[in-house]
Amino acid sequence: MRTASTLNGDKLIFGYSVKEISWDRIIMIGAFAALMAFYSIATENFLTLDNFMNVVRRDAWLFFLAYAQTMVIVSGGFDLSQGSIMSIVSVMAWSAMLHFGFFGGLLIGLSVGTLCGLINGYLIGVVRVYPFIATLGMLFVGSGVAQLWTGGLQMGGAREGAILPKHVEDAYVTLSKGSLGPIPLPVVWVLIALVVCWYLLKYTRFGTYVYALGGSEETAVSAGISFSRMKIAIFGLSGLFCAIAGLLLSAGVSAAGEPRLGGGDQLLQSIGATIIGGTYIFGGRGGVLGTTLGVLLIIFLVNGLNIMGIDTYRQQIIVGLVILAAIWVSTLREKKK
C-alpha cells in the first residue's frame, strides 16, 4: 500500500492521481513559458510587473467565468449562457445603482445573475432539459432581455441620458481599478474566488458531489445525491460568478450598463480556458487550478497580441484558432486513452 502522501495543494489535484497529471501540466506550463518567451523577445513591454498586474486586472472577469464553467463542466453539464448573464447583470446593476446607490446596485446585480443561474439549474435539474438546450435558451432570452431593458442603448458611460452620481460611479470603478496596496483589487477578487472554489471542490461534500455527478451520474444519484438540488446549486453558483464577471468587466471598461457586454467571445474563452486547463469535457475530472493556468494562457496570449499591435479582429481569429487547436489536441489525447 502506498503511504498517504501529504496533501500539498499544488501536487494533488482532486480526483487525479499525481502521475496522470504531470504530462498535462508540464505541457501546459511549457506552452505558457514558450509563449512568454516569445512575447518577451518580440515586444518590449511584455515582461514587466506592471504589465502583468494590468493584464490580470483587466481580464479578471475571465477567471470568474472559467471557474464557474469548470464547476459546471466537471459536474457533467455546460453553461452557454454566461455571456448573456453578464449582459443582464451589467445593465440591471447599473439601473439599480442609479436608484439605490452602489451597494444596492451591487447586491441587485449579484442577485439577478444568481437568479438567472438558478433558473438554468431549475430547467436542468427539475424539468430535466438537457443543459445544452436550457442554457442555449437562456443565452437567447438573456441577451434579448438585456437589450430590451436598455432599449438597445448603452447606459451611462459616454452616452447622454442618466448618469450615475459621482460617488457611486467612483465606487463602481474601484471594483476594477482600485488596489490594495500594490496589488490590484481584481487580483484580490480572483485569489479569493480561487481559494473559495478550490476549497469547495476539495474539502466539502458539495465538491465531491460535483465530481461524482460528472464521473458517473447514475452512481451519484443512487448514492442519494439529489440531482436537482445539485444542479440548481451549481448553476446558481455559475450565475453568481457570471454576475461578478459582468460587474468587473463593466467596471473596468466604463462603469456603464452595456447590453452587448457578453456578446463577444467570452463564452468561447471560458470554455477554452477550462478545457485547456485539463478539465475533461464530459466531466468527472479536472479542477480550478488547471483552469487558472488555462486562463492565464489565454489572457497573456491576447495581451501579447495587443502589445504587438494586432487589432482586435485579428486577435479574435487567433484566439479562436488557438482554442480550437487546443481542443483538437485534447480530443486526440482523449481518444488515445
Binding site: M1, R2, R205, Y211, G215, S222, G224, G284
Partner: protein, 670 residues
C-alpha cells in the same frame, strides 16, 4: 442444520408486481435470516431483478407486504431502502471512476468536521475505509482512484461500501459474472465474512456451481411464480434446474448435418491487450461454430474485433467471399521504388508550377488579386501557360530543391509508416497542399504586405506533410466495420436495442440499413421494391409488427432481434456473428431464430454463435470453441461436446472444481 427460532431478518409475503404487458411477480414469498446466504435462482424474466428492485426501493410492489425484523415496512425509495440497511450491488458497477476508493465508499455520507466551514473529514473517511477493507480481508489502497483498479477489486470496493453503512441485508446481483477463478474465491471469502458478522445476503447468480459452494439455502422463481425454498444440502442441481425451467435439458433444436465448404472466415492471432490473446480459428461456409465461456471471458470483445469495431494490437482477420464487388485492395499498387520516384518528381515540379499559377493570380507585392483575363479566351490560355513567366532551373533552383525535399520527406515518412498506397494519397495531398498554401497566404497577408510566394508554398508543403503524417498516425484501425461488412460479415450484437437497431426509426428503415443499394435505382430508392422485399422478410421471419413503418422501439425483444437478423439477410451477409442471439426472447421466437440460423447455414453461410446457454451451444453447434479469460481453450467437435467438457474448459481448474451438471446460464434481462 438446526436454527434457533427467531424473527427472520426479512420477510416478503405474497409480493405481486406487474408492468404493462408483463406480470413480473405473482404472489412471491421470500424469507431471509441473519447469518445467511440465500441464493435466488431463475431464468431470464423469472422475476429476480424485479424482486430485488422492490426490496431496494426502486419499484413499489402492487400487492403483498414486507417485514423487516418483524416490522411491516414500506420501502419508498432508494434512500429509504438504504436507511433501512438494505444495500444492493449490481452487476454494472456503481462507482465513480475518477474518485478514490475512500470517496466512493463514503459517497453521500461523508463525515464532517465540526465547524461552520463544513469541511469533510477525509482522514476519518480514509481510516474507516481501511478498517472496512481489513474486515473483509482485502488489500486495496483507499486513496487510489477506482479507475485504476481491476474489476474484481472494484467489486470489492462495492462490498466495502455496503459494509461501511452497516447494512443488514446485502443483495448481490450476479457478482461473479466478471470475475475469474481466484477472484471469485476472494469474493466468497469476503461474503462469508459478512455472513459471520450477521448480515443476511441475497445472492443472485446464474452459475449453478456456486449454489453449493456458498449458499445456505436457495429459492427458485419461474416466470414470476414462487417455486420453493430449500436448504442447499437437501437438493441437487438437476432438481433445481427442473424447478427453474420446468423441463429437463431436452430442448429441441432444429439441427441437421450439412456439407461444409471453403473457409470463409479466418482469424489469426488476434490480440487486444488485457482483453483477449492470440485468438485463432476458422469457420467454413455452412458451419455453425458455437463460442462458449463465462461472461467476461472476452467473447463479445472478440466478436467486435472481428467486426472491426474495436482496434486490436495484433492479428488479422481474413475473409474470402465470392462476390461481384471488386476487391478494391487488389487494385491498389503496392509500394515500389518506381512509384516513389514518380511521386517525388511530381512534387519537385509542383512547387514551381504552383508558384507560377499563384503569382499569376496574386500580385505578391500588393496582394491584390490580379484581374484575370476573360475566361474561355484562347489567348489567355496561351499567355498564361505557354507564354507565361518562364522559369529556368538554373536561375532559381530554390523552388525545385524545396519541392524535392518535401517530396522526399513525404516518401520516406510514408515508407516507414504505411508501406502501401503512397501513390493514392498523392492527389489528396495535392489538394491539401493547395488548401494550405491559400490559407497560409491569407494569414500571412494579415501580418505583412510583402512576402514571397515561394515561402508560402513551402510552408504549405510542410503543413501538408505534417498533416499527412498526422493522418497516418491517427489511422490506427485498418480493419473497420465498413470493410468487414463489405466482405460479407454481419454482427448481431449482444445489446440489440442499443447497438443493433436505431430505436427511433421504423422496421423497414432498420431492415434495409445495411444494404440500401439493393433497392436503389439510379440514385433513388425504389420504394415499391423496398416495400415488397421488407414484407417478404417480415413474412419469412414472422416478425410481429403492426406495419412496416412502425418504429422499432415498439416491438418486443424477440421481434427486434428478428429485425436485426433480417437486416443481415437483406444484405445477404454470408458470415454472421450472433452474440447471445436468443437472450431475453420467448421460446417460440427462439425456435424461429434457430431455424433461420440453420437455413442460413444450409445456404452456405458461416456462422459464429456466442452464447451463454449451454443447451443452445450443444444443440446448434457443429463445433464448440471455448474461451476462458481471454484465451481460446478448446475446439470441440459436436460429437465430443458435453456440458461437462465445455464447462471444464470454460472455468478455471485450479483445485478440483465441481463440474456438476451444468448450467443453463442466463443473464437477467429486466
Amino acid at each position: 442444520m438446526e436454527e434457533e427460532k427467531k424473527t427472520p431478518l426479512l420477510e416478503m409475503k405474497k409480493i405481486d408486481k406487474s408492468f404493462p404487458g408483463v406480470h413480473a411477480l405473482k404472489e412471491v414469498d421470500f424469507t431471509l435470516n441473519t447469518n445467511q446466504i440465500h441464493i435466488l435462482l431463475g431464468e431470464n424474466g423469472a422475476g429476480k431483478s424485479t424482486l430485488i428492485k422492490i426490496l431496494a426501493g426502486i419499484y413499489q410492489a402492487d400487492g403483498g407486504e414486507i417485514l423487516i425484523e418483524g416490522i411491516p415496512t414500506f420501502i419508498l425509495d432508494a434512500r429509504t431502502g438504504r436507511d433501512l440497511g438494505i444495500s444492493v450491488i449490481y452487476q454494472e458497477l456503481n462507482l465513480v471512476p475518477d474518485l478514490s476508493v475512500a470517496k466512493n465508499i463514503f459517497l453521500g455520507r461523508e463525515p464532517l468536521l465540526p465547524g461552520i466551514l463544513r469541511r469533510v473529514d477525509w482522514a476519518k473517511a480514509e481510516s474507516e475505509s481501511r478498517e472496512v477493507m481489513r474486515r473483509i480481508g482485502a488489500n486495496i489502497d483507499v486513496q487510489a482512484p477506482v479507475r485504476s483498479l481491476s474489476v474484481a477489486d472494484q467489486q470489492t470496493v462495492e462490498i466495502a461500501r455496503a459494509l461501511a453503512f452497516d447494512c443488514k441485508i446485502l443483495i448481490m446481483d450476479e457478482p461473479t459474472s466478471s470475475l475469474s477463478g481466484h477472484e471469485i474465491e476472494e469474493l466468497f471469502k469476503s461474503v462469508s465474512r459478512l455472513r459471520e458478522q450477521g448480515v443476511g445476503v441475497i445472492y443472485i447468480s446464474h452459475r449453478l456451481d456456486e449454489v453449493h459452494k456458498i449458499g445456505d439455502c436457495v429459492t427458485v422463481l419461474r416466470d414470476g411464480d414462487y417455486m420453493g425454498t430449500w436448504e442447499v444440502n437437501a437438493v441437487d442441481l438437476d432438481f433445481l434446474i427442473t424447478q427453474m425451467v420446468g423441463r429437463t435439458l431436452d430442448e429441441k433444436f432444429p439441427w441437421t448435418p450439412r456439407e461444409r465448404g471453403e473457409v470463409a472466415l479466418k482469424v489469426n492471432g488476434l490480440t487486444s491487450l488485457g482483453v483477449f490473446e492470440d485468438i485463432s480459428f476458422d469457420i467454413r461456409s455452412g458451419e455453425i461454430v458455437g463460442m462458449a465461456g463465462l461472461v467476461g471471458a472476452g467473447r463479445t470483445e472478440v466478436a467486435r474485433a472481428v467486426m472491426g469495431a474495436d482496434p486490436v494490437e495484433s492479428g488479422s482477420v481474413e475473409m474470402t467471399r465470392a462476390t461481384k464487388e471488386k476487391e478494391e485492395s487488389q487494385r491498389l499498387p503496392h509500394y515500389s521504388i518506381w512509384t516513389a520516384l514518380a511521386d517525388i518528381m511530381v512534387f519537385m515540379l509542383a512547387l514551381p508550377l504552383f508558384t507560377v499559377v499563384f503569382q499569376g493570380i496574386y500580385d505578391p507585392v500588393t496582394l491584390n488579386m490580379r484581374t484575370p483575363p476573360p475566361l474561355f479566351s484562347a489567348s489567355w490560355f496561351y499567355e498564361w501557360i505557354i507564354g507565361g513567366p518562364k522559369f529556368n532551373i538554373l536561375d532559381n533552383p530554390a523552388p525545385y530543391l524545396s519541392g524535392l525535399a518535401i517530396g522526399i520527406i513525404r516518401q520516406v515518412g510514408l515508407w516507414f509508416m504505411t508501406r502501401q498506397h503512397a501513390w493514392l494519397t498523392m492527389w489528396r495531398d495535392f489538394g491539401i497542399w493547395n488548401a494550405f498554401a491559400i490559407f497560409t497566404m491569407v494569414i500571412a497577408s494579415f501580418f505583412t504586405q510583402n512576402f514571397k510566394t515561394e515561402w508560402v508554398m513551402i510552408t504549405g508543403g510542410v503543413g501538408m506533410v505534417v498533416l499527412r503524417f498526422l493522418f497516418i498516425l491517427n489511422h490506427e484501425r485498418k480493419w473497420t466495420p465498413i470493410l468487414a461488412i463489405r466482405r460479407g460479415l454481419g454482427l448481431l450484437p449482444e445489446d440489440r436495442k442499443v447497438q443493433g437497431l436505431t430505436q427511433v426509426l421504423s422496421v423497414a428503415v432498420n431492415m434495409t440499413s445495411a444494404n440500401i443499394r439493393r433497392v436503389i435505382n439510379r440514385f433513388f430508392i425504389n420504394m415499391a421494391m423496398e416495400k415488397d422485399l421488407v414484407d417478404e422478410h417480415i413474412g419469412q421471419l414472422s416478425i410481429a409488427t403492426p406495419t412496416q413503418d412502425t418504429l422499432v422501439r415498439f416491438l418486443s425483444g424477440g421481434n427486434q432481434q428478428k429485425v436485426v437478423l433480417a437486416k443481415w439477410l437483406f444484405r445477404r451477409a454470408n458470415v454472421l456473428v450472433f452474440d447471445e442471439p436468443t437472450r431475453g426472447i420467448d421460446v417460440g421466437a427462439k425456435f424461429e431464430v434457430h431455424s433461420q440460423m440453420l437455413k442460413l447455414a444450409e445456404n452456405g453461410a458461416a456462422i459464429l454463435m456466442i452464447s451463454s446457454e449451454l443447451p443452445e451451444i450443444l444443440g446448434m453447434s457443429d463445433r464448440v470453441l471455448v474461451m476462458r479469460e481471454g484465451r481460446l481453450t478448446a475446439n470441440i467437435p459436436r460429437e465430443e461436446a458435453t456440458q461437462e467438457s465445455i464447462l471444464r474448459f470454460a472455468m478455471v481448474t485450479q483445485e478440483s472444481q465441481e463440474v456438476a451438471s451444468d448450467s443453463v446460464s442466463n443473464g437477467d434481462n429486466q
